[in-house]
Symmetry: C2
Subunit: 217 residues, 2 copies
């Protein structure tokens, strides 16, 4: 049996979306980030990322983590790749070349998109209206223009790899999602905006997102 | 025939090391970074990352890029994974679980190690002795203590995956290498320092490194 550690309001959204795509049965242990213990409405979770029981599973104290038999795996984008390859059928690679392209897009998302996109999301979520906050969002958006332009150029078809929705799209979409809070930026890249909407219209994303929204902040 | 684009003084060291491990024949196109055109001793390269001919290969203008038949691949850590899987025998994964762990370690290296390690390397390379430069190196080193401690904990055996040297070690070693310029930091993690020395003692690394050192700055 697969066990996935990590609450919905974390990068566990990625494997949770993938598991909703495949319908694979799994045990969910909704470990929360330790900093959320101090928040008034933290979910009633059995473990947090500083719990000794969780650190025994993942010594770096990060969620999500997957355990599948003898395999313990961290890094959300590697977990989705594994689940797709092992249980995902057409969501995973059909050849070494597809495997390589899915890894390429996952590394691109992690290194060129996720950092500045998360900076935008967290700053906008705080609702800060200061000049400093606005400048920080503007600089983060500027960092994203080259990667988003590159992504737009790669989206000549509906999906990134193999002419079908795959874990490659899922991994990139989950990083681009943070930037979607910046509507004007997304409007500059209509191909990216339309692709993200296609990905998020999938029933599995919708199911995952509803569960995430139901989790206390 | 494989074609690899990218000079030695770039992230092309990663696939060049891997190709030295496997001995696979390839065509090398030593594309240089466009900013080096203004340096006095730039290598005499046929193309740079702003050349239209290179942008036709990789629109985001980054090296390295691999072309193998119909596949064009960017992201250095995905290129090494592909080469190992396709041509590397025991350097690549022998199972879905090994594939996942190599992807996990590659993503870990790219997201938790490479940024601050490169900050250390570039600051020390400039030889700056200002208080600001020293503070920046100290902050970057502090960012690396948690990931390097985690890596040290994972090095109970000589290598990270499957009890043998693999592309997982190569990808992480190439990111940790930037931090090795900070001797005192590495001394805090003897297991990491010894593992990096083992990896870099391999004849294929030595061959790649000699070619890199021979390339003009």
């Amino acid at each position: 049996m697969i066990t996935l550690y990590g609450c919905y309001r974390s990068r566990a959204t990625r494997p949770l979306w993938l598991l909703a795509e495949t319908g694979t049965p799994f045990t969910h242990v909704p470990v929360i980030q330790s900093y959320r213990l101090n928040q008034p409405k933290a979910p009633d979770a059995p473990l947090n990322t500083a719990s000794p029981e969780f650190l025994a599973v993942n010594p770096i104290g990060q969620i999500p983590v997957l355990v599948d038999g003898a395999l313990t795996l961290s890094e959300s984008l590697a977990i989705t790749m594994y689940l797709a390859r092992r249980y995902g059928g057409a969501l995973g690679p059909a050849s070494d070349a597809e495997s390589a392209l899915m890894e390429q897009w996952s590394l691109f998302a992690a290194t060129a998109v996720e950092g500045p996109a998360l900076d935008i999301r967290m700053t906008l979520d705080k609702g800060m209206k200061t000049a400093e906050a606005e400048a920080f969002v503007a600089i983060s958006a500027e960092k994203l223009r080259r990667p988003l332009g590159y992504l737009a150029g790669a989206l000549k078809e509906d999906w990134l790899v193999g002419g079908r929705f795959t874990v490659g799209d899922l991994n990139v979409a989950e990083c681009v999602r943070y930037a979607a809070a910046h509507g004007a930026l997304m409007d500059e890249f209509p191909a990216v905006k339309a692709w993200l909407a296609r990905a998020q219209a999938r029933p599995a994303f919708q199911k995952m997102w509803a569960a995430r929204e139901a989790e206390p902040l």
